[in-house]
């Protein structure tokens, strides 16, 4: 078979890319490894409403909970709660991803589930064929003019193509999350527990799915530790805070660090979403970044397929150019922040929560986001206590 474009992965990045390509009238095949888009969920499902609304009008059935408040809890139990002006959502990724892929199909794209891209072949970084394997058995060679790898953190397609996608152990977070039912939570409040006893060099989160269920997860840096420390710490937390909770799902994952221009393109292979490490290294937020990078990759593919780009290298202007123009500075800042964050001690966290309390008592939360705020506070870390006194 021959298509104009092949997109590997029907998550938020792949579906956005395929939608743009199909909408412009080009033939596109989306390959999804699982039996349907949206499974398995490996996500806390939280997203800022501003970022999402800019990309797509959310359907009510995609939204499990509407978030208005964020609470940060320090190691000593002190906490501050901030009312968000923009707010956010906790999504239902099963429905959300499924519908995004459906949107690409409605636009004329083709979706094949239960397929793995086995290898990508070509010459001098110009790829022309992808060999696919079906879960039902059998394989097939698919030809295309441009390829988009949106296959998540595994990033296997880019690796097959010869890109260095290796992630160093000391720069990843191991993530583990439980879906907990039969509990009582405020459905408009997300909570972050910080401190090196609760989540070494990371944080623990409680994202409500309803008034009686939540995604409760942990991210820790595993360098020098063991990944299953995440399980022990999460179990301890759940036993302590939600003893009556029933775990109905377990999800794992990793947050690799953002690589700036590092992993977006190799010849006519465009890499988007988690596969390109297009995520916020501090919080692990990836949905909006994935959708945005996917959309730009799709638009760039259209420029190429329509003949408006003569040489493939000129595609840089569009991809990753447009994405980097919009996001590189922010994502690079989050990466630097993360580096600082991992050096914080429990006393720092206690002081930071104190500073947050004061900051929000005096400032509006308009347009504020966790990263910007932390940047402001961590930057003043050496003088944190003096700063708090000064404000007092």
């Amino acid at each position: 078979m021959r298509y104009d474009a092949v997109v590997v992965g029907a998550g938020p990045a792949g579906s956005m890319a395929a939608y743009e390509i199909a909408s412009a009238g080009h033939s596109v095949l989306m390959l999804e490894k699982h039996s349907r888009p949206g499974i398995p969920v490996c996500c806390a499902e939280g997203v800022g409403s501003r970022g999402l609304d800019k990309l797509i009008k959310p359907r009510p059935e995609w939204i499990s909970a509407v978030i208005n408040r964020v609470r940060v809890i320090a190691p000593d139990g002190s906490h501050t709660t901030v009312t968000l002006s923009g707010g956010g959502y906790v999504l239902d990724r099963k429905k959300f991803d499924y519908d995004l892929a459906g949107r690409a199909v409605e636009a004329g794209g083709r979706l094949e589930c239960g397929t793995i891209g086995l290898n990508l072949t070509g010459h001098n970084n110009h790829f022309d064929t992808i060999n696919i394997q079906r879960s039902s058995g059998g394989s097939e060679k698919i030809e295309a003019r441009i390829f988009i790898a949106a296959d998540g953190v595994e990033s296997r397609i880019a690796r097959m193509a010869g890109m260095d996608t290796l992630v160093e152990l000391d720069e990843v977070e191991t993530l583990l999350e439980y879906r907990l039912e039969n509990i009582t939570v405020s459905p408009d409040l997300i909570e972050f527990y910080v401190g090196n006893k609760v989540a070494p060099k990371g944080y623990l989160w409680v994202f409500p799915k309803s008034g009686s269920s939540a995604n409760i997860g942990i991210g820790i840096i595993t360098d020098g530790a063991r990944g299953d420390d995440a399980m022990r710490l999460l179990d301890t937390f759940v036993d302590q805070h939600y003893p009556g909770g029933v775990v109905t799902e377990k999800m794992g994952g990793l947050t690799p660090k953002y690589r700036s221009k590092g992993q977006f393109r190799l010849g006519n292979l465009l890499v988007a979403g988690d596969a390109a490490r297009a995520l916020d290294s501090l919080t692990g937020a990836g949905i909006v970044n994935a959708m945005m990078s996917g959309r730009y990759a799709g638009l760039a593919a259209v420029e190429y397929l329509s003949g408006r780009i003569g040489h493939i290298d000129d595609i840089d202007r569009f991809y990753p150019g447009c994405f980097l123009e919009e996001k590189d500075e922010e994502l690079s800042r989050y990466r630097r922040l993360k580096n600082m964050y991992t050096r914080l001690e429990d006393d720092d966290f206690i002081d930071i929560v104190k500073a947050l309390k004061i900051h929000f008592a005096e400032n509006s939360t308009d347009g504020i986001n966790a990263g910007k705020l932390l940047a402001r506070i961590i930057k003043t870390r050496p003088r944190l206590i003096r700063l708090v006194r000064y404000i007092l």
Partner: protein
């Protein structure tokens, strides 16, 4: 006694986090399970240290 990597697919969450960590590209998440290429694996243990649910371990292979 030779040591081998053992993947317990009944507890693996299929998150794929270990895949990009493997220096040898030996790990592969297929449709419904994680597998590894015995020829490529050097038993470096990085995947074992990463896994949040301890689904990967090293075990002695006992010749029977």
């Amino acid at each position: 006694m030779p040591v081998i990597l053992v993947i317990n697919n009944s507890i693996c969450l299929q998150c794929g986090g270990c895949v990009p960590l493997c220096p040898e590209d030996a790990l592969f998440l297929t449709f419904d399970h994680l597998k590894y290429d015995t020829d490529l694996c050097t038993l470096c243990g990085i995947c074992i240290r990463f896994c949040p649910v301890a689904a990967i371990s090293e075990e002695d292979r006992i010749a029977i």
